[in-house]
Structures are given as structure tokens and as C-alpha cells.
Symmetry: C2
């Protein structure tokens, strides 16, 4: 690294900006509720200045890299998906230049697509995957739409999405189960998660197992505080089972998560006999942005 | 039958009343958006009169039978679940008497519970099951919370619920997929359903397959009109697969459905190699109410 770098992970509901010093350390972070859905057409240069203008003033010479939904059809400029198998060089080469308010250029990174029968897409996670170092193996990136990706010989060869986080929000927040749910105590959180993981192993599938939250509460065998943790663990365990069916062995799994997601996925993965390495998504993003910025220059 | 009968299927959002003549034919029907959630505490006698008062005046001597959520904790009076295996006689015997506005009595039928590891409950469907005649076999009752039940030697021995209808409403109406969905043409309905049934067979499970609606639209391989039918067929096929895993062979299956549900379940069951008999839910309800009224008198 000879220069600092400004990188944004600019998603649907949130933007996170980071200024990375020439030595690779993080010098400053900014985050804002300025996801692309809050930006009007033509408003991206101004929104960028709002989110990252201060970082630009701190390092005016730093190149700017934008990842995530900012490159989607509803973003600043559409950066077409790079088809898997995808290398960091191919991702960097497909970057699209945009112009900031002050006339400087920034690069919008593309997302990835893959098509092994089922078509699938990601935007933003490709940068985290690159940041993990692209060692052979399977990577789990939990979220609203979780991604599981396979890395082989330094390239991303395929991946699959799971609507886990979004379905959790709908079931826990808006279904008949929502009325039963109360704030969990730590003991309820643990007991609910244990029941949810067990329910995921039943043969009837997710649509059947989710209803158990209602009937077990009616039966007095589950408390209101256990409902949310039950649903979360049930869905995460279903996601893990689905990923295993798609990818086969999950040995040497890498998990990119922090906070509550790291805990819930860690517990469900442990119950499935898996002990993943865990990386903080923000660290993975910084490493990925640095590597892709290097590839852009190269 | 020596007397007419008034029977109500009184659910969460709707009430359907039927006056059945002494010869077993339906003499009059009334239905109203007066589900139990719209009835204030203490308001059930008045709500009953609103829904079925006219039928009472047509046949003042007819006994009154109430089935469904009206017997739940949030209903008129809680009629405790009858545990499976449950016979029509046991269901009738557990009926709870309530008093109508004019002082006459009515009977609230209980729901059923079963517990083979997972606890489960139904209210209302037990009357339809009885109405089907209780021949040995498996019965599918689609709905917001679909029920699959096993009948052996004239008793209901077990059942399982699936949140299919509710999850469809959430995914098609409120998820990221909702924004993509448009009103389907007949050709789109058929093509979407075909893709949904195929997607259900993929190894990644429901959370993965549902996301395909989004990526296939992005890829231009699915139209907006196909999204709803895709999701519906995917969920129904997942439900059928779950029922098969729970109940084993589904040969001799009976489907209790009409209209769009009869069509969508019929298509998904046919794709699974099953050719169920089909009974209209209202016919099953009338037959079940008659049989349970007979057991009450007996």
C-alpha cells in the first residue's frame, strides 16, 4: 500500500464508510442510515458527500471504492454481475467509474452471479469473500439474505442465498407467532434456541416446525420469551441443513459475522458439529477493499 | 335426522352459518366477516344473533352447533382440546354449552390436540374430518394453517399443521419478493407454478428456493406475473413433501378444498404422483355437523 483508500459498503438501508491508511490500518469510520433506497434519482453524489465527505477531506488523494447495492439497478449506476467462477482481478476489472461532486472519480464494484441450475446473485459479499483471503473452503455470510459461497484455488466458484433474516423478521414480527412473542430472558433465549434447533431436525420441514411455536405455547411448554429465539434457531438450522445439502462437506467452514448473528450461527453450527473460524464482517470488508483496490491499480 | 340443525363454522376472521333441514339438505346459508377477533368480550350472543338470527327464526327448534376458533381461549368459551386418538363420540361429548340471547342453549365443539413429540392443535377441521366419513387414510385440509390428518378405524389418530397460507401471504405480500410480483396471466400462473414445484425439489430448502424468485426475475427468466404462482406452488410442494415425510405413504389421500386452493393443491399433488379424492369444505362441514349432532343426541 502506497496510498490511503476510502471504501464504502453501501447497502439497501445503510452505508458504512471507512478510511484505510497507507499502512492498511483503519483511520476513521462513518456509518449512516443512507441506504440506496433513501437516495432519490440523481442524488448519489450528494449522498456520498454526506456519508463520506469528511473522510475525503481527511485524505483527498485516496481512491474511492463503492461496494454493495449501490451498484444495483436501483443504485448509482448498475455494475453488471460478474459470473462465477470469479477472481478478484475479474471483479476489479468489472468496476464502473462514477464522478463525485468535486469531479473526482470513484469505482463501483460489481456483484457476482452464479448459475448451477438455479440462478443466484450477491452484491457486497464478494468484497468480504475476497477479504477472507480466498483459501479453499465454504464461507457463510449470515444476514437478511444469507450467502454461502464456495472458494476453490483463489476464485469464488459458486454460492447460494437464503432468505433467513427476512423470513425471521416476517414470522417473528408479523405472523400469528408475533402475538405470542415477548422479550426473552437469557435463560429463555438459550432454551428457545435449543428447541428451535431440535425442531429443525423434524421431518415435516420449516412450515410445520414453525407452527410448533404456537402450539407449544398453547400447551404451556414454551414461554413467550422463547418464541423469538426458537424461530431464529429453527431458521438458522434449516439454512445450515440446506447449505450442507447444496455444498456437501462443510469442514473448514468460515463464518463472517459479529454480535448476535455470530452467536446464533455459532450455536447452530456447533449443534451441527461444525466449528467455523469467525471473522468480523468489517475486518473482512477492509481486507477485501484493499485487495480489490490493489487489483484495480495493477 | 328427525330435526333440522343450525351449524356455524366460526373462525378468526369469518363466520359461516348453515341451516340443515331434517332430511339433511342445506336449506339456507349465511356468512359474515364476523370472525371471533371482531367480537368484543361478552359480545358473542349478540354476534351470534347477527350472523344466524335469521336461521334461528326459520327453524326455532333446531339445535345449534358451533365449531372453530369460537371455542378457543379468545372465543366465546374455551372448549378444551380433545387429545388424539379422537372419535366423533369423544368430540361430541366434550362440547361445551353456552346460552344464546333468547335463553336457548348452543353447543361449542372442542378442537383436537395431538402429541407425537411435537404438540399440535386444530379447531374446526375436526368437524370436516368427521364429515368425510373417517375412512382409513390421510386427509389434507389446505388453508392459512393447513392440516394433514391420519384416520384409522374411524378415529383421528394424529395430525400436523403447516403455516403454508400465512407464509405465502407474508412472502408474496410483504417480502422483497412482493415488489416484483404482478397480476399473473393464465400462462404466467401455469409457468410460475411449474417452476415453483421444480424449485421445491432442490436440495437447499425453502429459504434458498424462495430467493430464486428474485434472482430469476433479475435474470429475466421469470416475469413478475410468475412470482406469486411460483411462491404458492413452492410452498404447497414443500408442505406435501413435509407431510409425506411425516405420514409416509399418501396413497388414498383425500383433499378438502375448493376454488383456487383445490386447483393449486391438485396440481402440486399431481406433480407428486398423487390423485386425491376432492371434497368441498362446506359439504364436509355439513356432514360433520350432522354426525356430531347425532352423537350429541345419542
Amino acid at each position: 500500500m502506497s496510498r490511503p483508500l476510502i471504501a464504502l459498503d453501501w447497502g439497501t438501508t445503510r452505508a458504512r464508510a471507512v478510511l484505510i491508511a497507507a499502512d492498511g490500518t483503519v483511520q476513521a469510520r462513518r456509518s449512516a442510515d443512507r441506504g440506496i433506497q433513501s437516495v432519490p434519482a440523481g442524488g448519489f453524489p450528494a449522498a456520498f458527500a454526506e456519508i463520506a465527505g469528511e473522510l475525503r477531506r481527511m485524505a483527498p488523494e485516496a481512491p474511492v471504492l463503492l461496494a454493495g447495492m449501490v451498484g444495483s439497478r436501483n443504485g448509482w449506476v448498475e455494475a453488471p454481475y460478474v459470473a462465477c467462477p470469479a477472481s478478484p482481478e475479474a471483479i476489479a476489472a468489472a468496476g464502473i467509474a462514477v464522478t463525485l461532486e468535486d469531479g473526482a472519480r470513484a469505482t463501483i464494484l460489481p456483484g457476482l452471479s452464479c448459475d448451477d441450475g438455479a440462478f443466484d446473485v450477491m452484491r457486497g459479499e464478494e468484497t468480504l469473500l475476497v477479504g477472507l483471503g480466498l483459501a479453499d473452503g465454504i464461507v457463510c455470510l449470515p444476514g437478511t439474505h444469507s450467502k454461502w459461497a464456495r472458494v476453490e484455488r483463489g476464485v469464488i466458484t459458486g454460492f447460494a442465498s437464503f432468505m433467513t433474516g427476512e423470513v425471521y423478521g416476517l414470522l417473528a414480527g408479523q405472523s400469528i407467532l408475533a402475538r405470542l412473542a415477548t422479550e426473552p430472558s437469557p435463560a429463555e433465549a438459550e432454551a428457545g434456541a435449543r428447541l428451535g434447533i431440535a425442531a429443525a431436525a423434524r421431518p415435516g420441514g420449516l412450515l410445520n416446525a414453525a407452527f410448533a411455536a404456537r402450539s407449544e405455547v398453547l400447551a404451556g411448554r414454551m414461554s413467550g420469551g422463547m418464541v423469538g429465539p426458537f424461530l431464529s434457531a429453527l431458521l438458522v438450522a434449516q439454512e445450515i441443513a440446506g447449505a450442507r445439502a447444496l455444498f456437501g462437506s462443510l469442514d473448514g467452514l468460515a463464518l463472517v459475522a459479529d454480535g448476535a448473528l455470530a452467536r446464533s450461527y455459532g450455536a447452530a453450527l456447533a449443534a451441527a458439529g461444525l466449528a467455523p473460524s469467525v471473522t468480523d464482517p468489517q475486518d473482512a470488508f477492509v481486507a477485501g477493499a484493499l485487495r480489490l483496490a490493489g487489483a484495480l491499480r495493477g
